[in-house]
């Protein structure tokens, strides 16, 4: 059913720390691996060793450079996957009911056996979170690893999305953003987490933590790093003066 639920019991989602992500793309690979081997059609690649390879991914890492008014530019890595929006436009446009948002946890899913591959949901998503599988011709998107997080066959510590589990930098967090006391909600609160493109009216559940204003302050160790040889003496001093005269 492509009508969106009024509210969902929980709002499971990700919190992604732009301050911490090192841009290693491990989450991209972990996601592709898990979602190729488990629930749904495998994430296919077409012409993988040819001149024009193309493949379906549910998570991709973009890198952005930010140039402040003064000071050096900074580089940020931004992993992007479905944000499991509360007002998900991708769900309401779907003509078949293949796309839906779950009442119990807010996860947005595609029922692949109902999908006609019209692609309209991918057009409706402002974030580019949906990709048509090049082989199966059905819409693929992040499932929040719905087949891991409730999977009692997995050890407790593995019951989180593959991207979160694999991130070596600890830049990805998973939890219930509908519960103000959850660890993820607290993190968003403490770090001023933001929505991507709030003006698109999608009310995304996933949040992004902006970088801390670290480089604006001078390092506390800076005084100890002052050059000690401002006025060289002895041999260096003679060399300095001699070179000056030439």
């Amino acid at each position: 059913m492509t009508a969106l639920p009024e509210t969902t019991e929980r709002k499971l989602g990700l919190v992604i720390d732009l301050d911490t992500c090192v841009g290693c793309h491990a989450c991209v690979i972990a996601c592709k691996g898990w979602n190729t081997e488990n629930y749904g059609a495998p994430l296919a690649d077409a012409d993988a060793y040819g001149a024009d390879p193309v493949g379906a991914f549910l998570n991709r890492v973009h890198s952005f450079e930010v140039e402040p008014d003064s000071g050096p530019a900074q580089l940020f890595h931004m992993p992007k996957s479905c944000l499991h929006c509360e007002d998900a436009p991708c769900v309401t446009v779907c003509p078949t009911g293949a796309s839906f948002k779950r009442v119990e946890d807010g996860i947005v899913l595609v029922n692949e056996s109902d999908c006609i591959g019209c692609g309209l949901c991918a057009w409706a998503c402002p974030y580019g979170a949906r990709e048509m599988d090049p082989v199966e011709k059905v819409m693929k998107k992040c499932t929040l690893c719905v087949d891991r997080i409730y999977n009692e066959n997995l050890p407790e510590e593995d019951r989180e999305p593959a991207c979160v589990r694999t991130c070596p930098a600890g830049a990805r967090h998973f939890g219930d953003l509908g519960d103000p006391d959850s660890a993820v909600s607290q993190l968003v609160e403490a770090r001023g987490g933001v929505d991507l493109m709030p003006e698109q009216g999608t009310k995304p559940v996933n949040k992004y933590l902006p970088p801390r204003p670290r480089d604006a302050d001078i390092d506390v160790l800076a005084p100890y790093l002052e050059p000690v040889d401002a006025q060289p003496k002895g041999f260096l001093g003679w060399l300095d003066r001699a070179l000056e005269r030439i």
Binding site: T92, V93, C94, M197, Q200
Partner: protein
């Protein structure tokens, strides 16, 4: 957006077809017998043929019937209902008229209303997408209806109504292009809002997530050279509006002129639709280094 041939043909042909069927539904021209059969056949071929082209766009056309289930929220599902219902109503009207020689006028009016509704619903598939600012406006629907009326009037051989609708359509298209050019900038989405980093300074894509193409870049990050778009706009208006109007205004107006006018209009609308898709920027382009123009 990627200008897929299947959707360009679908919107163009079905728009013209439903336009013609609407005219026939209200009895303009008041045809009967064989002449009516030929007119209706052209209308059904265009409207139905267009719908068939649209199914070529699907990854799983064999499941197309499922598209009838979500009419409560989805304009695409409504489009499936509207087109099938309308073709059904007009089909009954046409059969009664051609086979039995009975004109069930109320059914004709209902069919005509259905034709207009179908074109409107088709336009809303695009106009409802906030992620494509250029489309997200009432003028998208207005123009779909205007082109449908122009094509219908031309096919129905209605000289003066066709001239009037064509002129209105041409002026409307010109204004819509100008307004559409400014709409992306006005929608508020920038690379700063897309990354949440805008408050820190100027944001620039440093490295895309993949070196090759992806479904996203092929489907939604289509780029058309600006100067080519300008030229194509002129060509499109010339073929769709100026030439047909010129032919219709010729004092010695005959069937050959009308046929050329129809073909020129068809070619022009195909150009217009190509531009409709090719020029439509999707906000996901912000993640791939494309900025609002």
């Amino acid at each position: 957006m990627h200008p897929a041939v299947s959707i360009i043909l679908f919107t163009t042909l079905s728009g013209m077809g439903f336009g013609l069927l609407a005219f026939l539904g209200v009895g303009i021209p008041r045809v009967e017998g064989w002449v009516a059969a030929v007119f209706f056949a052209i209308g059904f071929a265009l409207a139905g043929g267009g719908l068939l082209f649209s199914s070529l766009h699907l990854g799983h056309p064999e499941r197309a019937l499922k598209a009838f289930t979500q009419w409560r929220t989805s304009w695409l599902s409504r489009e499936a209902w509207a087109s099938v219902a309308t073709l059904g109503v007009v089909g009954v009207f046409a059969a009664a008229l051609v086979v039995f020689g009975v004109r069930i006028a109320p059914l004709g009016w209902l069919g005509a209303a259905g034709c207009i509704a179908t074109v409107y619903v088709t336009s809303m598939i695009y106009a409802s997408l906030r992620s494509v600012p250029r489309w997200h406006h009432w003028s998208t629907s207005a123009l779909f209806l205007a082109y449908s009326a122009s094509g219908g009037a031309l096919l129905a051989g209605q000289r003066w109504p066709a001239v009037a609708v064509l002129v209105v359509t041409g002026v409307g298209q010109f204004l819509a292009w100008r307004a559409g050019d400014a709409r992306y900038a006005a929608c508020g989405s920038t690379v700063g809002s897309a990354t949440g980093l805008g408050h820190l300074g100027r944001v620039r894509l440093f490295e895309p997530p993949h070196t090759g193409d992806s479904y996203l870049t092929r489907e939604m990050v289509f780029v058309v050279a600006r100067k080519h778009a300008r030229k194509l706009r002129s060509i499109a208006l010339l073929l769709a509006v100026v030439l047909p109007v010129g032919l219709l205004l010729l004092p010695a107006f005959h069937h050959l002129g009308a046929a050329v006018a129809v073909l020129s209009h068809l070619a022009g609308v195909l150009c217009v639709r190509w531009l409709f898709f090719a020029e439509a920027e999707h906000v996901v382009g912000l993640y791939y280094g494309r900025r609002p123009a």
